[in-house]
């Protein structure tokens, strides 16, 4: 397990992704090897699969999987259309309250005081003055009724209202030619998305769900809603945004979930 190391940016994941994956997966691969022995006994196919591939070389196997995941990022970036919209649904389809899920138990979601909350801005942004909730609320809002898809496999239709991320980035003079937008959250969650997704019309900083101010467990005061991403790519309780050319990690991404995770 890699120790936390100081990062050039507080926005970035505190653990270097490649190293942690290599270290963390040693035992995984050991267990796969064990199961492979069992499976080999019942499967002629598995023997073929292992021919010429030294499964005992664990880092090499994880290296191949990690490279395949990076390749899949590129394929997904290619498949992503900046103009293709996610299907919208009628108000009657909206799930109230929405399904909750997070990396921490619900009773550990921190309280955020909207009056003292500030959105920090960092990286390739001209005007880095922190934004207040009033600043956010004064910006134009849009509403989307789209499908929320979790990497686990469940989904629901929700209604999110918020400021288009593109609007906010333009407003603060962000470098829109930069590659990534990274997020840091009050609940310590981190994440980040590619710039084309950040500029997509259905990517917003959400303040309301189904017309009501966000509950803290669903991301008060603001969360990211991106209709073209899986749920875990949409951080809640955001407290800082950085525009950067260094690919940000993220809580789940650092643990091995695919980085792009577009839908």
């Amino acid at each position: 397990m890699a120790e936390k190391t100081p990062s050039p940016s507080m926005m970035r994941s505190q653990r270097p992704i490649d190293r942690s994956i290599l270290v963390e997966n040693r035992a995984l691969l050991r267990s796969i090897e064990r199961r492979t022995l069992l499976r080999g006994g019942i499967s002629l196919g598995a023997l073929t699969m292992l021919t010429g591939c030294d499964i005992t070389n664990k880092d090499a196997v994880q290296g191949v999987l990690s490279r395949m995941s990076l390749w899949n990022d590129r394929v997904q970036a290619f498949l992503f259309s900046p103009t293709r919209l996610a299907p919208e649904f009628p108000a009657s389809a909206v799930l109230k309250p929405p399904r909750w899920n997070a990396f921490i138990p619900r009773d550990q979601v921190p309280d955020v005081d909207g009056a003292t909350w500030r959105l920090e801005l960092a990286g390739r942004i001209t005007d880095k003055r922190p934004l207040t909730l009033s600043d956010i609320n004064a910006m134009p809002h849009v509403t989307q009724r789209t499908r929320h898809v979790c990497v686990e496999g469940w989904d629901y239709i929700g209604e999110w209202t918020g400021v288009p991320l593109r609007h906010l980035l333009e407003r603060v003079g962000a470098d829109l030619t930069a590659s990534y937008v990274a997020f840091r959250c009050a609940d310590t969650y981190t994440g980040g998305i590619d710039m084309p997704t950040a500029l997509h019309p259905q990517t917003q900083l959400t303040t309301k769900y189904a017309g009501q101010t966000l509950d803290k467990a669903f991301g008060f005061p603001i969360r990211l809603k991106a209709a073209t991403k899986l749920g875990f790519k949409q951080p809640k309780q955001i407290v800082a945004i950085e525009v950067t050319n260094t690919r940000p990690g993220g809580y789940w991404e650092d643990r091995g979930f695919n980085w792009f995770s577009g839908i």
Binding site: N25, L65, V149
Partner: protein, 215 residues
């Protein structure tokens, strides 16, 4: 009997299917479609009970395997399908299928009158082979709809809802697994079919198949 390209794609497919199905079971377990999960020990690539990580959610290993093996499965499958169609192999071995042919094959099978001629498939076999090829196409289509419900929204619409695509993906897997069980059991009953699929030096030749000659 089996050309080299068929033997290679057959075994590559077998390996890819095992990885896809085993990792798919682990992914399924994270959000089961009904009140059942696959025993973790038979899943592939992300088992929290026997695995390394201290985090509760172990599906990302399985997802990594699933989304790596999918390339092997799809590219290999396209080579196999293209060869099978263009060379006329599918038409020769899997067609025609007639009701009478199926009826007589079932009739024979129920009396244990199994024809062990490799290279000539009875009508039930033909039906099963064509059926599993269709399932293979459908499992990939539903998989793409699950992977990219927005970018491939036209395809996703075929499955009505996101969970609809998951159900189709799951049921295709069930069909493929049932096929594999029958397929492997029959192959083990007639081991020369396995030799033929490995070495390709079965005594039958394509010429004999064409003329209907039996060895």
């Amino acid at each position: 009997m089996h050309p080299l390209i068929i033997r290679i794609t057959h075994w590559v497919n077998a390996a890819a299917m095992i990885v896809m199905i085993g990792s798919g079971w682990r992914i399924f377990n994270d959000s089961p479609l009904f009140d059942f999960i696959f025993p973790p020990v038979i899943t592939f690539g992300g088992d929290p009970d026997v695995s390394w990580h201290k985090y509760q959610n172990g599906a990302y290993g399985a997802l990594q395997w699933h989304f790596a093996a999918m390339w092997v499965l799809v590219i290999n499958g396209l080579v196999y399908l293209t060869y099978g169609i263009v060379s006329g192999r599918f038409g020769r071995l899997f067609l025609p299928i007639t009701v009478d042919g199926v009826r007589s094959a079932v009739h024979d099978a129920l009396r244990f009158k199994l024809d062990h001629n490799t290279g000539v498939y009875n009508h039930v076999q033909r039906l099963l082979y064509i059926g599993v090829l269709c399932l293979g196409v459908l499992v990939v289509m539903s998989g793409l709809a699950i992977w990219k419900p927005v970018q491939f929204q036209g395809l996703a619409k075929l499955f009505i809802t996101f969970q609809g695509a998951r159900w189709v993906h799951f049921l295709c897997m069930v069909g493929i697994v049932l096929f594999m069980i029958v397929h492997v059991a029959l192959a083990l009953l007639v081991p020369k079919t396995i030799v033929g699929m490995v070495k390709g030096d079965d005594h039958d030749t394509d010429h004999k198949h064409k003329t209907g000659e039996r060895s």
